[in-house]
Point group: C2
Chain length 338, copies 2
């Protein structure tokens, strides 16, 4: 028993007294309060606390404890695919702390009867707020102005290139889900005109619908990417769409990096074929194309649109509620696959 307990501790976090709790795999870093809340309720097999650098080896070891759920994050840190599910066949539920499920093979999960829950609407408001913040920042050159002042250039150079008015701008939103709708609502209050593209027109809104992203871009001053990443939306903003957006156009991306053809975006910005960009996500995070770093018409944030102290605590509560629902046989709160 001493040896087993030591082995369990080597997995990261299991105390002998917790052996009766249901087991789950945790494959993301969480803060102290999230970790404590999980450990009060579950036997947590924690990849990042395990000391094991390789995920496959960790999964193989963890499988012996028969964990029935896995908490994962988005962004491709660990793909939940056939190999993952083969390694820990006891898993019947995946709870991702992301809204997007692009790093989860839903087909494989469905085939094996593995339920999947996501973060639901926990992040929606914060992402929408951040998208509007990025847009105002790009149009009104706030970060550029802050740097101009910080570098002591105001008394030396006086004026600085003018910003652009937000009011009256035509905003083309790609993806009118929770987040897209919240962005639309906010920008309406600024006097903007809302257009959108999605799989099909929504009866619930009066905004003008575009079946083609190219046509949406051609009619818009600003293009906001707020859709999920999947086969259909990978590189949905490509060279043609950027050229349709045009030299006065601004791109905001709070979806996924791969929704945009990033090398084409960099080229369009370098060549002045679009006017600017506000980007929270990138194709190969945390790598950001070096050319973007010095452009004063580009505002970058490091995939933090979802992140506030409030959303982090909401996420903790929401994740635990999904796990408790699963372990007690109740319906998931925010099922992607029930």
């Amino acid at each position: 028993m001493a040896t087993a307990a030591a082995a369990s501790n080597a997995m990261g976090s299991v105390k002998p007294a917790a052996a009766q709790l249901p087991a789950l795999i945790l494959i993301r870093r969480v803060d102290t309060s999230f970790a404590a809340a999980l450990r009060r309720r579950f036997r947590v097999l924690d990849f990042f606390a395990s000391g094991e650098p390789l995920l496959p080896a960790f999964l193989l070891a963890a499988a012996k404890d028969g964990p029935r759920a896995a908490v994962v994050m988005g962004g491709g840190v660990a793909r939940v695919d056939a190999a993952f599910l083969d390694a820990v066949p006891s898993i019947r539920c995946i709870v991702t702390t992301a809204a997007g499920v692009d790093s989860i093979d839903l087909h494989e999960c469905a085939r094996r009867g593995v339920a999947v829950a996501n973060s639901g609407r926990v992040y929606s408001v914060d992402v929408a707020d951040h998208a509007v913040g990025l847009l105002i920042d790009v149009l009104r050159r706030i970060t550029a102005s802050s740097l101009f002042v910080s570098r002591g250039l105001w008394p030396l150079q006086g004026d600085y290139p003018l910003g652009t008015k937000l009011g009256g701008k035509r905003i083309g939103i790609i993806g009118l889900g929770n987040i897209g709708s919240l962005i639309a609502k906010r920008l309406e209050a600024f006097g903007c005109v809302i257009y959108y593209n999605s799989r099909k027109p929504k009866d619930s809104v009066s905004y003008r619908f575009f079946a083609s992203v190219h046509d949406l871009a051609a009619e818009s001053d600003v293009l906001v990417v707020a859709c999920a990443l999947n086969k259909e939306t990978r590189h949905i903003v490509n060279k043609d769409v950027l050229d349709a957006l045009g030299k006065d156009g601004v791109l905001v991306n709070v979806g996924r990096g791969a929704n945009v053809d990033e090398p084409e975006l960099v080229r369009a910005l370098k060549e002045g074929r679009i006017a600017g960009a506000g980007l929270d996500v990138f194709e190969n995070e945390p790598e950001v194309p070096a050319e973007l770093l010095s452009m004063d018409n580009v505002v970058l944030s490091h995939h933090v649109a979802v992140l506030t102290s409030e959303s982090r605590s909401d996420l903790r509560d929401h994740t635990i509620a999904n796990l408790e629902a699963f372990f007690s046989g109740n319906p998931l709160l925010t099922p992607v696959l029930p």
Copy 2:
């Protein structure tokens, strides 16, 4: 005549053919299109184009042409006071390109029957948009994140301190005029709760009114300064108000620098007695207190909340419309003193 024309040209801009046009004094730099539009309609005695470095000497020379109007800017470049009006007694109308008239002695103007017009609502929308942009930037740390990414720190350090949610925040607006009302309307769309302070309660709104700025600050998460600068509002945000706002509170100033006791603001930020600030205006522009330049919870812009390419062209049209109204004996469009 040749000598007189040469003398006039030395004043900056008067062509002999323009001698019949009504004369005005211009005491601000304007762009080419604004300058051309003025010169098509008026004989423009242009201080900055005159080569005369001293305003009193310029005014003395200009007085000989009997100009009946003056176009001035805000921000204390030239105070329109008794000395100014004594130097050019022919002036019957001051048109300022600012919304605020704190650099104009209205009492002196009224006493002499000099009409005063301001920029009216030309800037209101842009200032309101900029205020919201500064607020989102501070709360969500957008400029800080952009710097973090630009410096290549994301792959090295991973996480960065969390931002704060905008939704649900209590926003205390000082001054619920055009700009304050537009800020309120925008922030309502983000789910914020609006409080305000002004000289008296407004019947037209249901927001909660505070007669005391101190009490407003104590009940608010964010304080937004959107009032005019006058004797009553100078340092309306002082040490007591900042302390009432408190360590989680954020200050946004799009009014005038002197609405805030700047040394006290710097001290409160340095000591963590408030959480952050978004500042477009400063007490001694273009000087900005050096301590602010390196604070990552402070977003600075260089008095550009009013400035977009759209507002600049609106300003040109609006200023000319006020001047044409004055010279043709019609009521001013946006009289401060009719």
